[in-house]
Each structure stands twice: as C-alpha cells, then as structure tokens.
C-alpha cells in the first residue's frame, strides 16, 4: 500500500482538482481529505456518509465571576493574552484566544476557573462512487486541526489495509504549518502541484524544504504551465537542481471549473480530453513507480 499526499504550499494551485482526477484513475484506493480547514474534495466525490465521529476541538477555560476575588493571578499568568477585564471589572476568557492550557485553572487561589474539553470537530467515513473516503469538518474557529489530520489519516490506513487497497490519495492543505506537517509525517510520497508564478515557486520552495526534512520523496506537476512559459522553464530548472522528478505539465483550462460545476472530476467529465489523457499518463508514472 502506498500513501500519496498532494500538496502545493500556495493555495489555489489545483490540488483538489488533481486529487479528484487521480481518484477517478486509481483502481482500489482510499481517499482522504487532509485539508480539514477548508475541505473541498467532497464537492466532487459526493460522499455518502456511513459513520460520523466527534473529535476533540481543544479545551476552553471559564471563570465563574461570582466566586472571583479579582486577584488578577490568571490575567498575569496567561501567555496567550486570552484573559481580559470585562465591563464589570472582572477577568473573562476570550474563547478564541484560549489554548486550553489550564494554567489559570491550576493557579486560581479560589478555584473558580474550570476548563472543559470541546468536541466540535467531526470526521466521517463515507462511500463514494470511486471508493471509500475519510474526511472531516471542523467547527468554526475550533482548534486541533493537526491532530484531526493525524486521526483521519490513521483511519484511512486502517481502511486501506482492511480492503487491501493499493493506494491512499490524500488531498493536502495549503501552507507549511501544523496541518501540512501532520499531512507529511510518515506519508510515502508527496505530489507537489506548482503553478508557474513567482509566488507559486516561492511557496513550493518552502514546502520542499519542509518535506525534505521528513525525507519523503517528492514528485512534481506544473499546473497551468502555459500561463507563463518562461517561468515554467525556471520551475523546471528548480526541480532538476533539487532532484525532483517532473511527472507532468498541465495547461490552464476553464474545463477544470466546468467539470467542478458538474460535480465530476475532469477525467470523468471529459475522458478523452487531452488533459485527461495527460493526467492518465501522470497517474501511470506515479502508480507504476517508474520514476527515477
């Protein structure tokens, strides 16, 4: 079983469109949406939810004003500036700043602070027309996205093993922060989607540095390559210099938006379109291990 994670650094490079296309080419694969913060793969795969689970979304402190002596111990101790003096002149917790470390609760001399754990994040196991899918939905403004990614990836692996699936295709998050780190840890390969723009390459470089620190192999796709052919050449040079195999170049096409409107991947919507054939070659290269 091979786990492939699609990442880009910069958002909007085409991760989800490419993930959906590869999903329709892979036989016997499990799909996992690691972009728990703004998940979109389900808009194409149209999952039928079989199981729903709640998941820890971080802890939150609460100060009971009636017993508070206003000693300000909590105000001074909080390193997240999550406690402020409210209009009654008492300390109050800002729920969006509180990290749930419980330091205020432990230090409060009258024991009037309590921390509760929330479970406002959800994750799902679903059936789709292309295979099993594990995905998640975070409560608005909730925390713990990194741990949530780790959890759904574990589940996808478990399902892949049970069903003897050959591949797991992870649609990754943008950026290089906690969710990206959780998506990279322990995966078998990263498929890097780069757009040939100044910012696309800048962001990809930072991502490559991160992925290299985990010693995970990288393959690259240049998406919208004809937006700037000159810059595409710069990107190709960068990939050669960094020993990153280029598995394909995809032109800019409004077809990607069109198939999205029909809730289909490009390969399903227009199987004989040159880009679909192109994606097929890319998938063959990735799945046959014929790179290097």
């Amino acid at each position: 079983m091979k786990e492939i994670t699609i990442l880009s650094g910069k958002g909007g490079a085409g991760k989800t469109s490419i993930a959906a296309a590869l999903a329709s080419l892979a036989r016997n694969a499990v799909f996992c949406d690691n972009d728990v913060d703004a998940a979109d793969l389900h808009l194409i795969l149209k999952p039928e939810i079989k199981e729903t689970h709640s998941f820890d979304s971080g802890s939150l402190a609460f100060i009971n004003q009636e017993e508070c002596t206003n000693c300000e111990t909590c105000l001074e101790a909080c390193r997240f500036e999550a406690i402020f003096t409210n209009s009654d002149g008492f300390p109050e917790i800002n729920p969006y700043q509180c990290e749930g470390c419980r330091l205020c609760e432990r230090l409060c001399p009258v024991g009037t602070i309590q921390t509760t754990q929330n479970r406002n994040n959800r994750w799902f196991i679903s059936d789709t027309r292309l295979g099993l899918m594990v995905h998640a939905k975070m409560g608005p403004g909730e925390e713990n996205s990194g741990k949530l990614v780790t959890r759904i990836r574990e589940k996808a692996k478990e399902l892949a093993r049970e069903n003897k699936a050959q591949f797991i295709i992870n649609d990754g998050p943008p950026g290089i922060g906690c969710t990206a780190i959780s998506s990279i840890t322990g995966t078998n390969a990263v498929l890097l989607v780069i757009e040939p723009t100044f910012s696309g390459l800048h962001d990809a470089r930072r991502l490559v540095e991160l992925v290299n620190s985990f010693k995970v192999p990288i393959y690259a796709i240049i998406n919208k390559h004809d937006i700037n052919l000159e810059f595409t050449a710069t990107v190709v040079h960068y990939l050669i210099d960094n020993n990153i195999p280029l598995v394909g170049k995809i032109p800019f096409s409004e077809m990607f938006v069109e198939c999205m409107l029909h809730e289909k991947s490009l390969v399903e919507y227009a199987p004989n379109h040159p880009i679909s054939l192109n994606l097929k070659t890319i998938w063959e290269k990735i799945s046959n291990n014929s790179i290097h």
Binding site: G11, A77, F80, R102, P174, H202, R206
Partner: protein
C-alpha cells in the same frame, strides 16, 4: 482602523487584493496605509515589491523549557500539568525530554516544578521584517521558520507591529478557517472576504461567513476572477444580505502579469475600474 483580507479557499486572490488595496488606498489616504502580511506560512506580499528596502528584521522567540537533570527528581508533576503531551519523563531510566514541536509555551511546567529544574530557553518561531515601499506607510512581513507549527503565535507577534497612527492597517490573512485566521481577524474592524465564483470558492466562502458571524465581525465580499464559473455565489450573497464590495474580472493577461510579480504595471482598465468601485464602497466603512 484595521481591515483584514481573508478567504476560506487558498488562491482566490487575497494577496493580489491586499497589495492592490495597499496601492489604491495609499493614493487616496495620503500614504497613511500600512500592510501586514499575516500569512506567515507562505508570505507573498513582498514578492510584488522588488524595489522595497528592508529597514529592520528581528527573530521571534518563545520560551520553552529545558530540563536540568541534576535538579529534576522525576516527580512528573510537569508532565501532569502539560496539556500538550510535550514532556516525557521515565523515572526508572532517569529520562527527561521536551518535544519542542508539541510545546505551546504556555508556561505551566515552570509553575508546576518545585525544584527549579526547568529553565526557559528561546525557541525561534520565525522572523518579522519591516519594509519601506515607494508609496504607503510600509509593509510588515511575518515569516514562519520552516518546520515550526506555531504559526498562530507568530501571527500574534506580527500584529503587534500594527501602527495605530496610520489611518488604515491592512492585514493579509492566511487561507482556511481555523486558529491562524481567527488570530488575524480578531482585532480587525472589518473583514474583506475574497472569493471566486466556483463551487469550491462558494463552499469555502460559506464556512468563512459562518466563522465571521460566530465571532461577530462585520464583513463584505469581493468576487475575484468574475466571469469564471457560474452565478450561484451572487445568489448566496443576495439571499444572506451580504455586501458585495465589487467584482474583479478574470483576465488571463493579468494572470500572466501576476505570474511575473508585476501587478502594478499594465493594470487592465476594467480591473482598475473594479478597484475604484471597491474603494468607493469601502469609503463609507472607513469613515
């Protein structure tokens, strides 16, 4: 006042809108406009200002614990107080270690220890740089150290550079809807959501609207790449009484300019018109 530029989905044009607003608002408000790049994971604003002069750069640290094994009695009280499972102690093996990737720098372990076995050491999160540009009051960029998962803490530090003497501070937010976005928009007086008229754009706009309603932030929407996709997004805005600040037409030629980092040169007439329309809408909010 602070105006944050956010979007659920990545790649809708937050950076393009942020640097263009910096340009057009600077023109209108006598250069009393500051831009802060809060997308610390992938800061891109400065790519469009190759001539800008870096005036200062400083590294940002948080205090993480270091365990002195001479003083530690392996009582595990710090382990108990750490809500993030960042400390491992095995008494039998005299093993004591801190995992800095899990540490949130909350300080609980220092309070827990009665034996002065923990000392704070500096852990770098990244850097903050100040740039002077040929127009406007300057740009501040936060840049997360590669490998750090503490983007929210860095955003908090970067935002301290907001200059209240300026008329407007623009905050370019990271994509998504979780903690880093909440941190960015927390102090903003107004949020501009940048979206695109596609199913992905609409879906991610909806979850961002849900977040902003929950934290009671006033906001308006800019539809970028207008002309692509369909009209469902406008129906959504209308049905929910959401202010449409403007539409920026999609132009492949402009996308090419963008790819070269040249967005202030050869701005297509209809794009410039769109920004002036947006400026008009924003004027009532700013005053």
């Amino acid at each position: 006042m602070q105006i944050a530029i956010a979007s659920g989905k990545g790649g809708t044009g937050k950076t393009t809108v942020s640097v263009n607003l910096y340009y057009f608002l600077s023109e209108k408000y006598n250069n009393r406009v500051q831009l802060i790049d809060c997308d610390v994971e992938e800061p891109n604003d400065m790519l469009f200002f190759p001539q800008a002069k870096k005036e200062a750069e400083k590294e940002v640290f948080t205090a993480v614990p270091e365990i002195d094994k001479e003083r530690c009695i392996y009582c595990k009280k710090c382990v108990e107080w750490c809500e993030f499972n960042a400390i491992s102690i095995v008494q039998r093996l005299k093993f004591a270690e801190v995992n800095y990737e899990l540490c949130h720098s909350c300080g609980a372990c220092f309070e827990a220890c009665s034996f002065e076995a923990l000392t704070p050491v500096q852990n770098s999160l990244g850097s903050i740089s100040d740039y002077r540009t040929t127009f406007g009051a300057g740009i501040v960029e936060g840049r997360l150290k590669i490998g750090s998962a503490m983007q929210t803490a860095l955003i908090k530090s970067v935002k301290k550079q907001a200059d209240s003497n300026q008329q407007i501070t623009l905050l370019d937010a990271p994509p998504g809807t979780s903690c880093p976005v909440v941190e960015t928009v927390a102090t903003a007086n107004y949020v501009i959501l940048v979206t695109e008229p596609t199913p992905f754009g609409l879906h991610d706009l909806k979850i961002t609207v849900e977040l902003l309603n929950e934290i009671h932030k006033p906001f308006g929407v800019i539809v970028n790449k207008a002309g692509l996709g369909n009209n469902t997004i406008y129906q959504f805005l209308e049905e929910n009484n959401i202010t449409l600040l403007g539409k920026i037409p999609f132009s492949k030629a402009y996308a090419e300019n963008y790819s070269r980092g040249e967005i202030f040169e050869n701005i297509p007439v209809d794009v410039e018109k769109a920004y002036h329309f947006i400026l008009g809408k924003l004027a009532t909010i700013i005053n």
